[in-house]
Structure formats: C-alpha cells, structure tokens
Amino acid sequence: MALSIIKPGLLDTIQDMGRNHYGNLGINPGGPMDSYAAQVANLLVGNCCTEALIEIHFPGPQILFEQNAMIAVTGADFSPMLNDEAMPLWQPVVMRKNTVLHFPKLNAGARCYLSIHGGFCIPKWLNSYSTNLKAVVGGLEGRPLKKGDSLSPKESSIYFAGLLQEEKNIRTLPWRVDASKAYRLPNEIYIIKGREWDQVTRPSQLNLLDDNFTIHPSSDRMGYLLKGAPVELNHHIELISSAVSFGTLQLLPNGQLVILMADHQTAGGYPRIAHVVSAHLPKLAQLRTSDCLQFRLTSIEHAESLMLEQQKELQILLRACRDHLNKLVC
C-alpha cells in the first residue's frame, strides 16, 4: 500500500466532486467543502477533478508514505511538513518512500486537501468516492480515516525515483497555482435573494447586509450556524418540504440563520432567505468558528459570471499542469 495513517486527524474523509443523481432518494451529494481547493489539488498532480482525494481538518493526520509518490496539498495552511522539511501549498511534490506528512500548526483556514497522482484507489458507491458520514457508506467504509488505514493510488506509469535527486528525499515540482484571487476579501460573501427574501422585514433585510455575523462553534460540514441579530419575518410561515442547495441560508424558528454546507440534507422546510453564490463557497468553507462574515447582495447574472470565470481559470490550469507534467516525465 502506498500510504498509511499513523495518527488520525480530527476529521479526514475521502471526497470527490460529490454523488449526483440520487437526490430524489434522499441521498445527499456531499463532496468537498472547498471545491476550488479540491479541484486544484487534483489538477496540480495531473489528475482530472473527479479523482478521490482526502479532505483534512485541524488537527491533521500523520501519514506515512510507504512508496515513492507525487502529492499536492491545497486549501488551509496547516503548515504541512514532509519529515522535518516544510512543504509548499498549492504546488506538487515528489517524495521518496518512508516520508511522513504531518501538519504541526494551524496558520489559516479550516480544511485542506491532499491529492495523489492517479487519485486514491477505493470502491465507488453509487458512482462516487465521496464519504456519506450519516449513512456510513462511501469513501473508506463511510467513516473518517483512522489509525492503521491504508490507501493506494491507482496505477501510474511515472517512475518517481527518476524524478528525485540522489541524496534528496523530496523534490518540489516547478509549477504552482496562485490561489489568492479565489480567496480575496475572505469575509465578504456574496448572496442572491431566496424565495422568502421578500417575507423578511425591511429592518432585518438591512441588518442582514450591514451586520457582521459570526460562525457558531456548532457549525460543521452539514451547516454553518450564524450568530448575529435575529432575522424577522413579516408573518409566520410554515413551509412544506422541498429541495435545498449548498449555500442556502435557512431561517430557523428562533431567528437564527444557518448556511447549508457540503453535507446538507436534500430537502427542508425552513424559509429560504438567500443563497451564497457558488464562487464564494470556497472562501466560506475556509472560515473557522468565531470568524465573522458580511453578506453582499448580487444578481444571478453576476453569480454565474463569477463561476464561469473561475472554471475558465481552472481549465487553463489543468492544461498547463498536464503540459508541465508531460515535459517532466519525458
């Protein structure tokens, strides 16, 4: 096996871009909290974005690589180290076997992503590698990684030893991604109006766009509970259940807002006040407990153009990384 978990982290799970087409059976898509960092992690090592990778929270795991490997770490800065050498973020690295990856210090962000060239080799459930923690299925046995777990990448034709200099155990490869644009103004989150926006009182609407909200400690992969001025409706509403989405701002009966995150359930009956634009979900996913955020209202046209821009950039990066990798191994 290529790697094993010497010491598990707080919550390390296998994810891919999510499990689609089963929502009408109540099977939620899951997938990475920060889909931008996850996609970049895969493309840095020449994978397509649908390969399995590991989402890591802090405290992170200690992972022993038992074979030579090419990996990348993106997203939050947990100061990744390979043995006693600092490893760069957003840049691929080749390492010799018997190297330990660990994360001694939280510098910034909430979750990071570890990809391996070839993608992790595990069985799919309903066409996806993503872990469904509630249903205890998908990923590695439907659970977080624990001590002793072993994983391998799919077969690759790259001879990693040939990429390493003789006495060196680690080689940082010469291409990296500048992710600063995707996380610019990290506390400013764009939203578009939800179906029940107009049912919110005018003062509450103004507060929502003026105030700071803080992320409550009980927030997790299912949703971020927000602390802030209570949001009030013009009249009480009782809604029957219908579909919800990643980024939906629901209004709870006590006036609190919750932002549905990656492990959100498929349907709900709380008022849908607004929705975080998809292009800002990555920076939202990097906010931690007690971080604050401010909402800014925008249009669906703008939201879509932000997504398109981000994807265009990722497509260019994918081609560039593959070119670099091909040149390197030839």
């Binding site: 999510g18 689609n20 087409h21 089963y22 929502g23 009408n24 059976l25 109540g26 099977i27 939620n28 898509p29 459930w125 309903l126 469904n132 509630k134 249903a135 205890v136 299925v137 439907g142 578009i192 939800g194 179906r195 009782e238 809604l239 029957i240 259940s241 219908s242 579909a243 919800v244 989405s245 990643f246 980024g247 939906t248 009966p253 359930q265 498929t266 349907a267 709900g268 849908r272 929705h275 975080v276 634009v277 998809s278 669906i300 046209e301 939201a303 879509e304 997504m307 398109l308 994807q311």
Partner: protein, 249 residues
C-alpha cells in the same frame, strides 16, 4: 378552439399554476403551492420523471418535493454544451416549462405498490406515545389503532437517505414536531403535523416517535438502496417485542 386561443390559455395557466425561482445560482425550483395534495404531487412526479428521461449534460439532480420539483445543475457545463443567450437559470426555467407542457396530458401517476411495515410500539421504542396520549386525550392503544387504520401515500423521499414523507395521518393524531430535536434510533416511526414517516438511520429528529420497525428502509449494499419511492402506499401493522428482536437478527 383555434390555436392562438389555446396558446393564450396555456400561457395563462402557466402563470397561475406555478412559480419558477432560483434556489441559488446552481439550482431552480418549480413550485405549485404550499399544499400537500395527491394530484399536485402526481403532477410534480410526472414532471420529475420527464426531466430524468430527458436529462441534459450539467443536470446534477432532479428532486421532487410535496408540490415542487427542483433541478440542481452546473451552469458552466450547461454553457459549454448548449447555446443560450441569457443566464443558465433562464435556460433551466425554459426546460421546466417544457417539462410542464410535455406532461400536461399525462395521466395521474398511478399509486405505487403497497408496502406493509411492521412496527413494534413497545414503550422503549415509542418514546413519545405518552406525550401524544396526554395531548390528544387518547389511550396508547387508540393511537396505535388509528395509526394503522389507513394506508399512507408516500409524497417524497428526502432529508436523509430513504426518509419517506407520508401523509395524511388521521386528524386525531396530528401533533406538532418537537421544538428541540433529539437523537433518534434507526427505524423510529414518527409523526409531525399531518405527516408520518420512518427515520432510516440514526440522526437528530424532531418528529414525535411512536414505535420502531426492524425493516431496513435504507440498505446501502443493495442495488436499490432505498426501499420506498414517491407514490408508494404504506400500511403499518403491529408486531410484538419478541417478533421485533427476531426480525432484527
């Protein structure tokens, strides 16, 4: 009636019958009103079925609610594959309207098969039976008898893998959900408002729990991991504690 008259009437019906709105920048919902109603539910399921049969690149999920149907999509993939001038939302809105038109003459979705679900209403399992008994001035036996006295229509599957929303319970059993959810065991049978349902897995739940079933409504190892579907009919029947234990082996 001539063609333009038909079209005018269709457009009128279009504007009255439903609303289409964004559910964020990557999803849209077509809503027929805030009502639990079998024929609306059937309409919604016809549309959902058509959308699945005519799925497009970029569709990620089609989800039916009680009286709504939503498409979750990837605007970038849609842009890449289909020509449209304005927004991906507008493109999807037109698709939803097309689905509505194409299914307008579809027969009411037939009721699915009847599934009989065994329930043990033992005190240890029916943790809220006493509460319901005192609120509704009924004995526990009456609650159980009333719960089993009719078959229920499955309106939608959602919230959790295999969680079926069924209705309508007899008005004598209508009771609001808890203000604060508690952890419920898998198989717990509950009531909330005029709905009844079964929690297929353990999770925090706000429904009033009256019993437990040993039947696995969600089995990830199966080719069809979810046992029930929207449109199915469900009837509950009693089993004893020892029968429950035997069935749970």
């Amino acid at each position: 009636m001539n063609e333009s008259h038909n079209l005018e009437r269709q457009t009128q019906r279009l504007n009255q019958e439903f609303n289409i709105f964004p559910l964020g920048d990557s999803a849209a919902t077509m809503d027929f009103g805030n009502t639990i109603n079998k024929s609306l539910n059937s309409r919604v399921r016809n549309i959902g079925h058509w959308l699945r049969q005519h799925s497009l690149q970029g569709f990620k999920n089609v989800i039916e609610g009680y009286s709504s149907v939503s498409i979750l999509y990837d605007p970038v993939i849609l842009q890449r594959n289909y020509l449209f001038e304005s927004t991906a939302f507008d493109f999807i809105r037109k698709k939803l309207e097309e689905a509505w038109k194409e299914t307008i003459h579809d027969p009411i979705f037939e009721d699915g098969p009847l599934t009989r679900i065994p329930v043990c209403y033992d005190e240890e399992f029916g943790i809220d039976l006493n509460f319901i008994a005192s609120e509704k001035h009924l004995s526990k036996e009456e609650i159980i008898r009333i719960h089993q006295s009719k078959s229920y229509h499955v309106y939608m599957i959602g919230f959790l893998p295999g969680f079926s929303y069924m209705a309508d319970v007899d008005e004598r059993l209508v009771i609001p959900r808890k203000k604060v959810p508690v952890t419920v065991s898998p198989g717990s049978v509950g009531i909330a408002g005029s709905q009844t349902g079964v929690y297929p897995i353990s999770c925090p739940g706000g429904w009033q729990i009256i019993g437990r079933t040993p039947m696995a409504l969600f089995d990830p190892s199966s080719e069809n991991p979810v046992k029930l579907q929207a449109g199915d009919q469900v009837q509950f029947y009693s089993i004893s504690r020892s029968e429950f234990e035997a069935a749970s082996q």
